[in-house]
Subunit: 327 residues, 2 copies
Amino acid sequence: MKVPFETLKKEFKRVLLQLSFTEEKAELCAHTFAANSRDGVYSHGLNRFPAFVNTVREKQVDIHAEPKFLEKNGLIEIWDGEFGIGIHNASLAMNRAIELAKANGIGCVAMRHTNHWMRGGTYGWQAADAGCIGICFTNTMANMPPWGGKEPRLGNNPLIIAVPRAEGHLVLDMAMSQFSYGKLQDTDLKGMELPEYGGYDVEGNLTRNPSAIIESRRALPIGYWKGSGLSFMLDVLLTAITGGRSTAGIGSTVRESGVSQFFLCLYQSDMHHQLIEEIIQYTKSSAPVEPGGQILYPGENTLETRKENELHGISVNEKIWAEVLKM
Amino acid sequence: MKVPFETLKKEFKRVLLQLSFTEEKAELCAHTFAANSRDGVYSHGLNRFPAFVNTVREKQVDIHAEPKFLEKNGLIEIWDGEFGIGIHNASLAMNRAIELAKANGIGCVAMRHTNHWMRGGTYGWQAADAGCIGICFTNTMANMPPWGGKEPRLGNNPLIIAVPRAEGHLVLDMAMSQFSYGKLQDTDLKGMELPEYGGYDVEGNLTRNPSAIIESRRALPIGYWKGSGLSFMLDVLLTAITGGRSTAGIGSTVRESGVSQFFLCLYQSDMHHQLIEEIIQYTKSSAPVEPGGQILYPGENTLETRKENELHGISVNEKIWAEVLKM
């Protein structure tokens, strides 16, 4: 079943207004959830919406909170998210980083005590749409064991890097686990197996079964010890800069709340567009592994999916869609 | 055979002075090569020294060049490395980023037309020794296929993240390939196999044989499509900011020369030391996979090796050491 973007957005907004969101916050969040589905990130679009509504109903997210400016360390601004809506907070933080970058070439906003921003790529696209290079990352609850360990002690801490480009931004949006929990959920909903080992089951065996990994919270880090190290360092950076909750502070036994995030923008008038096209062409010129195969740049798939979904509507999980319509 | 740090350094310096290095550059480079071996990164210490000497003899590296300040994009300084000595250039660039960070909380130096910096971790330790968070990355010649492709079109573009800590800095130094070329060379010299698949042989088969991967230049990216995407984006960032050579510009058929590098420092008086210790303790508290196994933070091993090698001398490859003594 396919649903137009505007219908998805309208229904999300209706539900959020019922929950006493302000017009502005309802508009932003409804747009973001609908756009996530439109861009093919279903796990953080429609499929996540009912869980998000629950966090609001259970008052894990304070929908009335506004991020508060705390202090400036040189040119880095430190903000407190006041346990407000993750999407709203992250969108404000990235806007502020864009503003600072346009004034100083570089803009840096670190935020503590915020909540899940849903799809990290949203804020990469936001920076690139404003003509800025955008880099951002977040910590999460512990959902990945460190290299050499069996129990989850690291978050999968997504990292986003976006570079603006007229023909389609270059946007990398990657969790430090081989598969994001969103991807695990998507694959699980489709009743499929993962294309590579994605983690361990509760008994410690490597598995391609997404629900076994969701259960054990033992996702496999990308590149084994390397992804484990990178995830650790992103958490250290976030904590050293914000003084907020690390993955250790968030823990793994309670619901994720009060995460730390970092937003960096770079802006310069000349981003050497022609040289970037050269990189894309050179990368694509590698002979494909599969005959007729294509080599894609980060974000290329997103743009294709967006165009397709804008034209023909967005595929929805009918059960979840029916649930939203009844809210 | 074990050699004291000072002996290694003295011999390196003697050779470099013979090659007409200035006293200052000979001191810095000799120290860096010796320190790389001392810290266990033998591939970019003694084992790399003869190849470095060749690049100087063949005038690929201009030992008389000094990096030139080009322009300021807001707070980002753009420098030209003038095809000088990679170690010298990177050390100057990181020093400048440290200086800027101490003044503004953040310091950002991008450099084009520089040369191989040897071990990237060197500059992470440099920033952390100065009390700064240091992040830096470089591009390289094409030595890794993009995901979906067979021919190398990406560099393995090492990324370094360092956070200062009194008890031992946290320093991640990772190439985007599952094994760095340094690690492949080390393993090859020892006549060993890799612990995991590291890439493809010239016929396109996955292999644990390091020399087969050095030959094919088809290293496996960490996390498959993810490391491929991250490597691509680091190259795009470097090129967009510096306007210098991308991996496409460096190419794969000639010797690597004129790479682009980025140095970012953050400084604030309070880095929330106690919260960082909490992260370390929490991470280490994961039950080990192997009974009695230990979970290490990035940089922990380096510090152990350094202490050990300072106490008992540095293990050297006798053939390479004899070669240096005869130079």
